[in-house]
């Protein structure tokens, strides 16, 4: 028989907060880029980039040094079972941040490569972000994260993506909600100021529970020379 511990316990074993996790992801990416540049080279495919990043994130020593006491699991492929019972594998690229065993709360980061083209931005939105909206990820959870990997400056891609999502017809398709200030794009991020470029909010009317989800948008550049405008804290707000 397990029941929830009282709040008094939360100060003894506090969980990592989402801003801590996001900062940890950005700092680990920067460490990989300066130490093992090939591991995060833009020429790699998304599952390879995700796998390499996740391996570094999962390193126990690094986790403990950053006080991020949770598991990172790369889901670089998924299983689907067809009506006839056969199972197939499909490539995908996401990392789950998990506290404890399967079934405990988790936080999903979905990765997409962005080469500056419109088609890459379309995939980011309609073959990535939409998975949170349609309930493929994070059902019952209030937060998730989209990570765009770019060869250009992170800030430039963040600005372009914010404009792309805010396009009226796209905002409708992605079930975008406005924030308290009436904006579709919340910048700077309210949830993770130092690691997320901006936040977006999305209705999920087809799900149960149907509470909306807030998505953090994180941009990681594979080119240190192009990434000069990321500040020391990992901040990457899009330019106005």
């Amino acid at each position: 028989m397990n029941t929830a511990p009282s709040d008094a316990w939360f100060s003894v074993f506090p969980p990592p907060r989402i801003p801590d996790v996001v900062t940890y992801v950005a700092q680990t990416w920067a460490w990989l880029r300066s130490t093992y540049a090939n591991a995060v080279g833009f020429e790699n495919d998304e599952p390879t980039l995700t796998d390499n990043l996740c391996e570094a994130l999962a390193d126990p020593e690094r986790r403990f040094n950053h006080r991020v006491d949770c598991d990172f699991q790369a889901e670089t492929w998924e299983l689907r079972r067809a009506a006839d019972g056969t199972v197939s594998r499909l490539a995908r690229a996401d990392i789950r941040v998990i506290l404890g065993a399967p079934g405990t709360p988790h936080f999903v980061l979905e990765f997409k490569k962005l080469d500056g083209s419109t088609s890459a931005r379309w995939r980011y939105c309609h073959d990535g972000l939409n998975r949170f909206v349609e309930g493929k990820y994070a059902v019952g959870h209030a937060f998730g994260a989209m990570c765009g990997i770019t060869a250009a400056a992170a800030t430039r891609e963040a600005t372009a993506m914010a404009t792309y999502i805010a396009d009226p017809s796209r905002a409708v398709a992605l079930q975008c909600l406005t924030d308290d200030a009436g904006a579709l794009i919340t910048t700077p991020s309210v949830v993770a100021l130092s690691g997320s470029a901006f936040d977006t909010h999305h209705a999920r009317p087809t799900l149960a529970p149907s509470e909306p989800i807030t998505l953090l948008h994180i941009f990681l550049s594979s080119d240190p020379a192009a990434d000069g405008d990321v500040d020391a804290e990992g901040g990457q707000q899009p330019s106005a």
Partner: protein
């Protein structure tokens, strides 16, 4: 199409020890694991690993696998290593052949494998193959390559302590198919010696138990009564308490938490079947770990647990009826474990798993509150 990303398997691996002791089907909570279908599909050995292993064991396996495997090392050497079995004695299924390359070789019977010594050196006294066989079914040893040069040989089966009886040699001799060998080039002599030592080590036994399909089956009913089923000594319970307190302190430090904890193990003299552990907030900064051996204290603790059960009875899970009633109980500001007085539940590794469970339970509850 059904997405299996979220599908989970409730994996129960009850051990005969407690079931037999209680005379009914019983499942200890530490033998209940929740595994994802995704992980089982990717790593079929997970069902074996999770049989005895805790999350820490699975994490260690995952980390070790990143360093590569023996097979990868064998294939990656400048002169790739080969592995294989010895020659097959004549049998009815295969055509008999002449000794061929075995004609001039010495012969090591399986029962001459050294029991304790890890090397077969030049002083070994051996007969010739032709003293025992005049025909064979096949020469084996990957076409006799494994009868010469630096190599590790290992017979089928394990020692009583689940060890591998590996030995290093560079003497020329052949052996039958009940012995296997891994051989490499002359430049890899030192590495092959290391392999023999590694295979004989407790590390290899540990990995075998966690990944080998048939290693841990008891040979007969009498062998179910392993030392793990014995009553823990007071010293062992004391060690459990210390390790639990230390592991909780480590979790608190790694997560940046604060606040003292009291860890008390309470056992009912020398005769009780159960012992209990209470982990509570001290309200101070200091930690305290104690072992209390008192019938009175044990019953007082049981009263606390019983009160917790009564107040939360409506939340009792139906399947809890089929488990030993020692699931972790959270009551007020304390966690309780009720444990059978069997060594398996009072080992240092059990203390680490219990500390992990407490920290994860608290963190998951806090995370859920923060993010939902």
């Amino acid at each position: 199409m059904i997405d299996l990303a979220e599908e989970q398997v409730d994996y129960w691996a009850p051990k005969a020890d407690v079931s037999l002791a209680l005379g009914r089907l019983a499942l200890h909570p530490s033998d209940q694991k929740l595994l994802s279908v995704h992980d089982i599909y990717a790593k079929p050995h997970l069902l074996i690993s999770a049989y005895w292993g805790e999350q820490r064991d699975l994490d260690l396996l995952r980390r070790l696998q990143r360093f590569g495997t023996l097979a990868q090392t064998m294939a990656g050497r400048p002169e790739p290593w080969v592995s294989g079995k010895g020659f097959h004695a004549p049998n009815l299924s295969n055509r008999s052949r002449s000794l061929g390359p075995l004609e001039a070789l010495a012969f090591l019977p399986a029962d001459r494998m050294p029991r304790d010594y890890p090397v077969i050196a030049s002083d070994v006294q051996l007969d010739q193959v032709k003293d025992h066989f005049y025909i064979v079914a096949s020469p084996g040893g990957k076409n006799a390559r494994l009868y010469h040069g630096p190599r590790v040989i290992l017979p089928d089966g394990l020692t009583e302590e689940y060890g591998i009886r590996a030995a290093y040699t560079h003497e020329a001799f052949a052996f039958t198919s009940s012995i296997g060998a891994i051989g490499g080039g002359p430049d890899d002599e030192a590495l092959l010696k290391f392999l023999a030592a590694y295979l004989r080590s407790p590390v290899a036994t540990y990995l075998l138990i966690l990944t080998g399909y048939s290693v841990i089956q008891p040979q007969n009913y009498a062998r179910l009564a392993t030392p793990l089923l014995h009553r823990p000594a007071s010293r062992e319970v004391g060690t459990y308490v210390k390790v639990l307190a230390r592991a909780l302190e480590t979790h608190r430090r790694h997560s940046g938490g604060h606040g003292g904890l009291n860890v008390d193990a309470v056992v009912d003299g020398n005769g009780g079947f159960f012992g209990a552990v209470r982990i509570s907030l001290s309200g101070e900064n200091n930690d305290r770990a104690t072992l209390v051996r008192s019938e009175e204290a044990f019953h007082a603790l049981l009263m606390d647990v019983e009160a917790a059960f009564e107040s939360q009875l409506d939340r009792t899970e139906r399947d809890a009826l089929f488990k030993i009633p020692n699931a972790m109980v959270v009551a007020g500001d304390a966690f309780y474990f009720l444990k059978p007085m069997r060594r398996r539940f009072w080992l240092a590794r059990a203390a680490l798993a219990d500390a992990d469970l407490i920290a994860r339970t608290v963190q998951a509850a806090a995370w859920k509150k923060l993010t939902s």
